[in-house]
Symmetry: C2
Subunit: 271 residues, 2 copies
């Protein structure tokens, strides 16, 4: 028996008789309350990727965090909404004790090639080995499942909020800990490893949480294999923090300056 990587353990699903998938939250990826949203996102995606009816590679994933998950078992049902010649659409729901706590939509696509052009440029950054690893011990468990090396915009936890808002942009190297070859599932989770921009802007950990997360997968299967377990360069930035919600955008860059994923999320904050 081979030991599972903690990520694969966290997103493991068992198919029940009536087709529902059952999983269990992993304490290795525990957040302040309940599991890290990135593992939840990856588990929602997995429910589709593991389905016999699935056709094509993941192109888009939107995850809506409807209510707080508790640690323990959860059930996922994935429903194929439509299969066309080029795309396939799925709706996914996660419940605990019958209550819907997360919903998701997944779009898969047939990626056969053709025109290719990258208009965005990879941000400049020193090599990951030249950047210090963020100290994560003693905080939420999920932080210890990633190697964060900030180039710019490392989080600062202040005793009181900053007098003036700080910049919202971060640039960081990020990879699974322990190392794990990249796939669509880990890329989905990595897309949620960017700290909430309010932490960077205000310097405090007021009550806040992601309410909706969208990730677009640009990486083809061959590019994931080529990336393997090398660190990704991630950049994130927010644009407006107002009336209890803020947005943030992200890019995840891989080897040879390839843009592997882009995405956005909207975050609730208390005051």
């Amino acid at each position: 028996m081979t030991d599972l990587h903690p990520f694969d353990d966290a997103i493991a699903l068992t198919r029940l008789d009536h087709g529902t998938l059952r999983g269990t939250t992993s304490t290795a990826y525990a957040n302040i309350a309940g599991p890290f949203g990135g593992t939840t996102a990856a588990t929602m995606l997995r429910a589709v990727l593991d389905d016999d009816g699935r056709s094509g590679d993941p192109v888009a994933l939107t995850v809506n965090f409807c209510g707080a998950m508790r640690e323990g078992e959860f059930d996922i049902s994935a429903r194929m909404q439509r299969t066309g010649k080029y795309t396939q659409h799925w709706s996914v729901e996660l419940t605990q004790e019958g209550t819907v706590l997360t919903t998701a939509s997944v779009v898969c696509g047939q990626r056969s090639g053709g025109f290719s052009h990258q208009s965005a440029a990879m941000p400049e950054a020193p090599a990951p080995e030249c950047c210090a690893r963020l100290a994560t011990a003693g905080r939420m468990n999920w932080l210890e499942r990633y190697d964060f090396r900030f180039v710019e915009g490392a989080p600062v936890y202040a005793a009181v909020p900053f007098a003036e808002p700080a910049g919202s942009r971060s640039l960081m190297w990020v990879s699974d800990l322990p190392e794990r070859p990249l796939d669509y599932l880990s890329l989905a989770a990595l897309s949620d490893t960017f700290f909430l921009r309010l932490v960077h802007v205000r310097g405090t950990l007021a009550p806040m949480g992601t309410v909706s997360l969208t990730t677009y997968f640009h990486a083809t299967p061959g590019e994931l294999v080529a990336q393997s377990s090398a660190p990704l360069l991630g950049v994130a930035e927010g644009s407006r923090f107002h009336a209890n919600f803020h947005d943030q955008q992200m890019e995840l860059w891989g080897e040879n300056g390839r843009l592997l994923a882009t995405g956005a999320q909207v975050v609730w904050f208390k005051e």
Copy 2:
């Protein structure tokens, strides 16, 4: 009887006995085949906003275009998934003759105030009256329902694709035609008025279409009233065009440099 604005006519819904909502596509907003996606997005949002159970203002809207709508009647069902203290989550489905053609998720939120900060800066642009209106006659009808005034990156329809990819960024003033005071519904539609970036990059209208569209609403109700029917400044940019799909991001700016909405979409293209 007051004449309805063509947008309000296009997104009108009637509640059927069993709670389903029925609409009819509007030729005034016809696209190459079927209706403009922006009106479909707005109609999905309307199904939630018109529901007696709805609580809070729209915060996030994701619309998945699963299959081509034809002109004619369509049915929408909106299901409230969860209502929390701060957010409410909805799943919405649009069918024609029983076939699911569009799905959507809507997040509404209680917006009571608190911390406010805009980290993004409005792009500089000459006043709308100093910019020429894009000629839209003789093309898809929906283009004539908007006043487009490009500052940068106007679309060029070339007979053959450009030899080298052009820039993906556009900056434009955009407003409803005829004028209509801004609300969340028109803002949802305006978020889909950015031409597909592939047109800008390649110069051709190859087969292509949006597969998933996400919009975050930053504007509060008071800001929508303040904006009224003044033009919005919109900026859009793509980052990677590869293996039949590309992304694009957008921002919509209003009076006094307020960021009213941000969003992203992923687009399929044939080759």
